[in-house]
């Protein structure tokens, strides 16, 4: 690993200015992706801004129609939060399926969302639950946030502070994990808000995306049968040694159907 300067700011202001001043910074949250990337020299920032001591970035607040999770809240804390389990059980279950127990003791929601790994789980919840990503200088709607492979709407030195999720009437997340890594080959997050339905798919393209055709079909008939014949095209789907594009396209429909069945049940 290459050398870097380490910063451990105590406040968000300090963190923001350290991030802005650095030549080539990375924000260190749980480090579960960043540190392995640095070990492999895929990332070699000049400066690491560790958010561990920044006040106010941890914790879960449940409002009447939202759940707000601080960026430094760990997967383990979301998984085991009685509040999240009650308000959005699908979100607690999703957090409990990330990585392994030791990884969940460190990994954070902010880190996962900022990284926008094409196979990560949290982006599916952010998009599926029509969340708002709050940063140190603005709020970004989920629909505008994920822009490509490891790409988001975040500016270079922008820091996520919290994610605000809308509480759905019903929701479920189902993934088909790659057996060795546990990452989603395809994962589907389905959420129902009154007459509206959102279907967010992770693992299949450069970044998480919605399937509007399924959303419309489910809005009038919230059952797996409603989307059984909807198959997304495989032109821009990921293909790798684990899974060909047409198989991923097939999995999108299967995972979405299972998620609908679970949410409806």
């Amino acid at each position: 690993m290459y050398e870097f300067n380490y910063h451990r700011p105590k406040s968000l202001d300090e963190a923001s200015s350290a991030a802005k001043d650095a030549e080539d910074r990375k924000i260190l949250a749980g480090g579960m992706t960043l540190i392995p990337s640095m070990k492999l020299r895929l990332a070699a920032p000049s400066d690491l801004i560790d958010l561990a001591d920044v006040d106010g970035l941890k914790g879960i607040t449940v409002g009447s129609d939202t759940v707000t999770i601080g960026a430094m809240t760990r997967h383990y804390d979301v998984q085991t939060s009685a509040d999240v389990q009650k308000a959005i059980p699908a979100l607690a279950a999703l957090a409990g399926g990330i990585g392994d127990p030791s990884v969940r003791h460190r990994g954070t929601i902010g880190g996962s969302v900022a990284h926008s790994d094409p196979a990560a789980d949290y982006p599916a919840a952010v998009l599926g639950l029509d969340a708002t990503v709050k940063t140190d200088n603005r709020e970004i709607a989920a629909d505008d946030f994920f822009t490509g492979l490891f790409e988001t709407a975040l500016e270079e030195a922008e820091i996520i502070t919290a994610i605000e999720f809308k509480i759905p009437d019903a929701a479920a997340y189902i993934k088909f994990p790659q057996p060795a890594s546990g990452f989603a080959l395809v994962g589907a997050f389905v959420a129902k808000f009154g007459g509206d339905v959102r279907v967010a798919i992770t693992g299949a393209k450069d970044c998480v995306f919605r399937v509007t055709e399924m959303e419309q079909a489910l809005a009038s008939n919230f059952s797996p049968d409603a989307i059984a014949d909807i198959q997304i095209g495989d032109d821009d789907l990921l293909a790798d040694i684990h899974c060909a594009a047409d198989y991923r396209a097939h999995l999108v429909t299967v995972m979405a159907k299972r998620a609908v069945a679970q949410a409806a049940g």
Binding site: M1, R106, S181
Partner: protein
């Protein structure tokens, strides 16, 4: 450029100059000579490097020593009693032949204690699932799972 880092390791305060890029596992093994914590991979997958950070299992290969400033770390060396009496989980691994070459064992034992803490009622299926982040190349896991089941019972009985 190195920085002073202080933490408690196995109940003792330690202070050292480390580079920010020093991983916790390197610090434990190379600076403190605590070579019980192993490194089996470069990708956070094998779990051989598990230690407890403030009582919770974490992968010490995926953590900088500098992040542990002021924290409590327990390694496999910190489990047995001063007089050498094994921790109930270590004893269970011994009795159930939960190891062959022993390379994965420190990580397995540290994670097993963490399972016992979080899931004192864990059944066989739960234990297998909880071991998702630990790889063993020898045993086929059968005896590890049996050891953990028995170790959890022993830890529960001890209270």
């Amino acid at each position: 450029m190195s920085t002073k880092v202080s933490m408690n390791v196995n109940g003792k305060p330690v202070l050292a100059d480390v580079e920010p890029r020093t991983l916790l596992v390197q610090y434990l093994r190379e600076h403190l000579g605590l070579t019980g914590t192993h490194v089996g991979c470069d990708t956070s997958q094998c779990g051989c490097c598990n230690v407890h950070l403030n009582g919770e299992a974490v992968k010490s290969c995926t953590l900088f020593a500098i992040q542990c400033e002021g924290q409590d770390i327990t390694t496999i060396e910190g489990l047995a009693e001063e007089d050498g009496t094994l921790h109930p989980m270590q004893q269970a691994f011994w009795e159930h032949h939960g190891l062959q070459c022993g390379f994965c064992t420190p990580g397995m034992v540290m994670v097993a204690c963490d399972i016992a803490r979080r899931r004192p009622d864990a059944d066989e299926k739960t234990i297998r699932h909880e071991l998702e982040g630990n790889i063993c190349r020898c045993t086929g896991y059968q005896h590890i799972v049996e050891a953990i089941e028995s170790g959890i019972k022993a830890m529960n009985a001890k209270g």
